[in-house]
Amino acid sequence: MEGSADVILYKRGLLTLAAGLLSGCAGQQSVLSPASDQARTLSWLGLLMGVICLLIYLLVVVLLGLALRRRARPAISPTGEVSGPVEGWLQRGLTIWASFVAAVLVVLAGASFVTDRILATPRGPAPLDVRVTGQQWWWRIAYRSPITGEWIETANELHLPLDRPARIELTSADVIHSFWVPGLHGKLDMIPGRANVLAVTPRKLGWLRGQCAEFCGLEHALMAFDVKVETPAEFQAWLAHQAAPAQARAGPGLALIENGACGGCHTVRGTRAKGRAGPDLTHLASRRALAAKTLSLSHGGLMGWITQPQALKPGAEMPASGLDPERTKALVAYLEALK
Amino acid sequence: MNALPDLTPVGDVAELPDAAMGPRGLIWWGTFGFMLIEGAGFVLAGGSLLYLWAQAPQWPPVGAPPPALGFGLAFTVLILLSALPNIWLQKRARACDLPASRLGLVVMGLLGVALMGLRGYELAHLNIRWSANAYGSLIWLMMILHTSHVLTDLIDTLVIAVWSFTHEPGRPQFADISDNAGYWSFVVLTWPPIFLLVYGLPRWS
């Protein structure tokens, strides 16, 4: 029975995919899966502090338990005062405890300062400059074109070359956001009117996940992004490709973009669509996800997002396209060709 | 022992006065507490002004002349001078001198009215709207904060003055007059730093 065999295969495929996604994705945004020098340094610091704090906690609990369960009890005067050898030891203990706590704090503060120094010292070849601007609720990403040196834009997916320091300049076009890729570094706020710089040196190939970490309004929960760390050669190829204008053949979809509302907010380089309010779509189909990882970049995702963005991400700036299904299909066909 | 103990007298406080002047009195401490609160507010507002001034490329920003110095100087001179009758009033009140207290309250009331008039001219000649930029907002913030204190003390003084002319005060009420004078000293002392921030900083930076 072919049908049911297909179904079984299909279900197995889904399960494999799910399991892969689960194990794969679960670590992609974890502080404990460092993929860069900086994240590795921070996870060592976290481990050191965590272990020391755990030991201190156990010590306190043990002392508390002993205090409650001791058999021998001292004599207490009618006014509630206590003297004697035990009291004397408790007094000495106070000094010992104060010194111990102070010493631990000095060690931890010292470890923190050393970490700060390590994080501040750049190592490696000349850094790659990237600019990321937070918007409600997506990420505007800009690189220098390797050909012209001009800043070219993409959105919601960050690519970085392995082993080369990246200097990520962060700001915001509206409210305060926070750029956080736990696998690469701690978070840093994106503040309108300020430029913050995050220095990361990726050391592992593959995909990482980042998410906005400062409450930025209604759809703060749906503002995430992909990071891909690739070999320098792959990265150069990707960057050159991103810097080139749109590769798709003109068709009815492009006409809809240029003549309709889309071009007012979106840019497709090489066409007449030059809007800057929304994400750059020149190489939309080269990305994995849509609307800051609200959806995956599939045919269904694109259809749904263009037709009903407010149902998928209420409050997003993107209005419904108002196009009939035929035109929507043509538009999506064009977008899928924007590789 | 879970019963109420008996009570035995070991001292008597009936001969104590029913009020004390200055920090020995209870109410003085309430007034002092509110001075701390408002002082903290002033310090933070002034700190905010200095924080934004330190970041500004120009202070005041391009196109805004500093506040007109004349009215600010006049206000400053008058409020500092008002400290003299104020201290005299406080001393006379602590001595429970009713005629002197009444006179002092009237004088301080008139001075308060004159100062509010001068303050009105100051506010009309700050040469910036609060809605123009952050500099304008902060100048107005400092001025409104101080003005609200001048106004509050003026209303207090007028009410106490009316009361003192129509009633027979006891020691607690003389202590109140003294505390009110103390509050005016606070209003006087908080002015010079604000004057420097509002009138001086735009001219020196």
């Binding site: 923190s112 970490t115 501040a120 300020r194 | 507010g41």
Partner: protein
């Protein structure tokens, strides 16, 4: 038997009652200045709000137990965490601690009332205005929705149209006026109304804690009043404090807010340390170990707390050198805190502990708060904090220190002083059951959140994808929260049943040492007919047959004794304010002004008139008119 003169208690009680009793019924309710009644109102209101905030919390836990849930949309969830946080921090935690002080401070001082009785009444009505300021708009669907600290530009005129943020900002104004009023009252009472002989060196640790917390409140709360007023001004009258385009700075908001916000958490925590001190002393049956180190720790915490606020801003991108200073200071505050923990354990070690319910709550406090303190040491490290802040790690940390560090001692304090307040004993058995459920449920619910943060789960998200792998721990968090709330309900049920049917307690069921246990349970309106004289830190140890007191304060007029700051020498008698409607009227005038100023700045101008009138009536001394005034008013001379 020595012939010590004994005062006629019955006669004194009758005369005091006549002078100090409230009018019956509604009028008495509206005009009372009895600190115990007002404190009782505060406690009931805060506990009702605690329950409501808890329901919001369960709602959020349920929402997050299933990835991709759309039961609560983004708007609903954002409103929930805003209401939850704002209610807990502004309407529950600080007010309930102040209420406990309001109730207990005069009793522990052997005094009949606080320094400014009507100010207490005013503070409650103003606080109630703050409660309504937040919850009535919620009922009308104008709920604030940007969190319990609403950073501009998100909360500014450009991105938060409508009145939700104005509601939040003005609610804060109400509650801060109320809190400042109580704090001034508490501080002045502790400094100037101690009984003869209670020098600062013989003052119970709870009073030290409340003195410290009150002074901290006085110095910290103006910051939040200022910053929320500046935000309202930006929104309402087009000022530009936080507008970067016009020379303002959004980070200024954060500095001012956290200058308040960090001391605020210690303002909540320090009174809890006071509860712990008294409970540990009574149930170890000995004086607290290390009185002087504990007092010095309280003072050190108070000072240091004002120098830490930037640790809430490590991710803002401020200069690294500054961040290092705040790391060092934030770690340093662990030292005085750790010293206090040692002293409590040492008291138990060198004493004869009795495992009653209040002591269980203190043990729960130590076992729980220390986790929060240690996670705080981790987040004190500026670089590590960049991974931890704004994630569920911080959510875990803040709940461990607030619930473990403040609510557990508070519940212990409720159990400890319940017999004094009501004259009845709580059920020990149900008290212990509720403790274990709350303690176990809380730890089950919140410990996993440390790991969720490390797994990358940010704060304030209404949903997440299944692929993130966050669901299992979120389900555990839900289970723990449900258990804890169940324990809380049993706690309340115990209180309600015991209030009606508990065994009578007598004045000193715990054989405690401080003065509040020397008056009846519940205390009469005047607390003590005569002010006791003390000569030790533990005046009721050993339990006196005869309590030394002073005479001379009127039994027929409301009078209290004012003593000197350090040595508690007698200075003067003070007429104590009688019941009055003016605190309520003033609070109504103030409330109308605050509510109106959300809509128009002119409300501040017009509101001055009724406020001034009400305050004038409040403070108007009632003494003989002069002959001239009598003639003017047509009265007989």
């Amino acid at each position: 038997m020595s012939a010590v003169p004994i005062l006629d208690r019955a006669e004194a009680e009758a005369r005091c009652l006549a002078a100090w009793r409230d009018a019956p019924g509604l009028w008495g309710f509206l005009t009372t200045v009895d600190h115990k009644r007002i404190a009782g109102r505060y406690v009931c209101t805060t506990m009702a709000l605690l329950f409501m905030a808890g329901v919001l919390a369960l709602d959020m836990r349920l929402q997050l137990a299933f990835p991709g849930m759309h039961r609560m949309g983004a708007q609903g969830y954002n409103e929930a965490f805003t209401l939850h946080g704002s209610t807990m921090l502004f309407l529950v935690s600080v007010p309930v601690m102040e209420a406990m002080a309001m109730w207990l401070v005069p009793l522990m001082l052997g005094q009949r009332n606080m320094a400014f009785p009507r100010l207490n009444a005013f503070s409650y009505w103003t606080y109630l205005g703050g409660v309504l300021m937040l919850w009535v708009p919620h009922a009308l669907n104008v709920t604030p929705d940007l969190g319990w600290f609403q950073y501009p530009p998100l909360s500014g005129p450009g991105y938060a149209p409508g009145h939700r943020t104005d509601v939040w900002a003005q609610m804060i104004t109400f509650t801060e006026v109320a809190a400042l009023s109580v704090s001034v009252n508490t501080a002045v009472t502790i400094l100037r109304m101690r009984p003869l002989g209670m020098t600062l060196a013989k003052m119970p640790l709870f009073l030290w804690a409340m003195l410290v917390a009150s002074v901290m409140t006085i110095l910290a709360l103006p910051a939040v009043m200022l910053v929320t007023s500046m935000l309202i001004a930006d929104r309402l009258v087009a000022t530009h404090f936080f507008d970067p385009v016009a020379g303002g700075d959004v980070v200024l908001f954060q500095h001012l807010f956290w200058f308040f916000g960090h001391p605020e958490v210690y303002i909540i925590f320090v009174p809890a340390l006071g509860f712990v001190a008294q409970i540990v002393e009574t149930f170890s049956r000995r004086r607290v170990f290390g009185y002087i180190p504990v007092v010095l720790s309280l003072l050190t915490i108070a000072v240091l707390a004002f120098g830490l606020w930037v640790h809430h801003m490590f991710a803002v991108g401020l200069p690294k050198l500054g961040a290092s200073f705040y790391t060092a200071a934030s770690m340093a505050i662990a030292l005085p805190t750790g010293l206090q923990i040692y002293c409590w354990i040492a008291t138990l070690w060198g004493g004869r502990p009795r495992l009653t319910t209040p002591l269980l709550w203190v043990i729960g406090f130590i076992a729980t708060f220390v986790i929060g303190g240690l996670s705080g040491v981790m987040t004190a490290s500026a670089p590590l904090d960049l991974q931890l802040t704004d994630t569920y790690f911080i959510v875990a940390h803040l709940h461990y220190v607030l619930i473990g560090g403040a609510l557990f001692p508070l519940f212990g304090a409720f159990c400890y002083w319940f017999p004094k307040a009501t004259g009845r004993l709580l059920s020990e058995r149900w008290g212990k059951v509720s403790f274990w459920l709350v303690f176990g449920g809380f730890n089950l619910g919140f410990f996993p959140m440390h790991f969720l943060g490390l797994m990358g789960m940010p704060r304030r998200i209404y949903t997440y994808g299944h692929e993130m792998g966050w669901q299992p721990l979120n389900v555990v968090a839900l289970a723990g929260s449900v258990i804890a709330v169940g324990g809380g309900l049993i706690f309340v049920a115990n209180a309600c049943f015991s209030f009606k049917r508990g065994a009578p307690s007598g004045p000193n069921p715990w054989e405690a040492s401080t003065l509040e246990w020397a008056c009846a349970s519940p205390p009469p309106p005047y607390n003590f007919t005569h002010s006791p004289v003390v000569d030790s830190l533990t005046p009721l140890w050993p339990p006196p047959q005869v309590l030394p007191v002073v005479t001379g304060l009127s039994l027929d007029e409301r009078e209290v004794l004012v003593t000197s700051v350090v040595d508690a020498q007698p200075v003067h008698r003070q007429a104590s304010a009688k019941p009055s409607i003016w605190p309520l009227v003033s609070a109504l005038a103030v409330s109308a002004t605050f509510v109106g100023s959300i809509f128009t700045p002119w409300a501040l101008v017009w509101g001055t008139l009724p406020v001034a009138a009400a305050l004038t009536a409040w403070f108007w001394p009632h003494r003989r008119l002069t002959p001239g005034a009598r003639r003017l008013l047509g009265k007989a001379t």
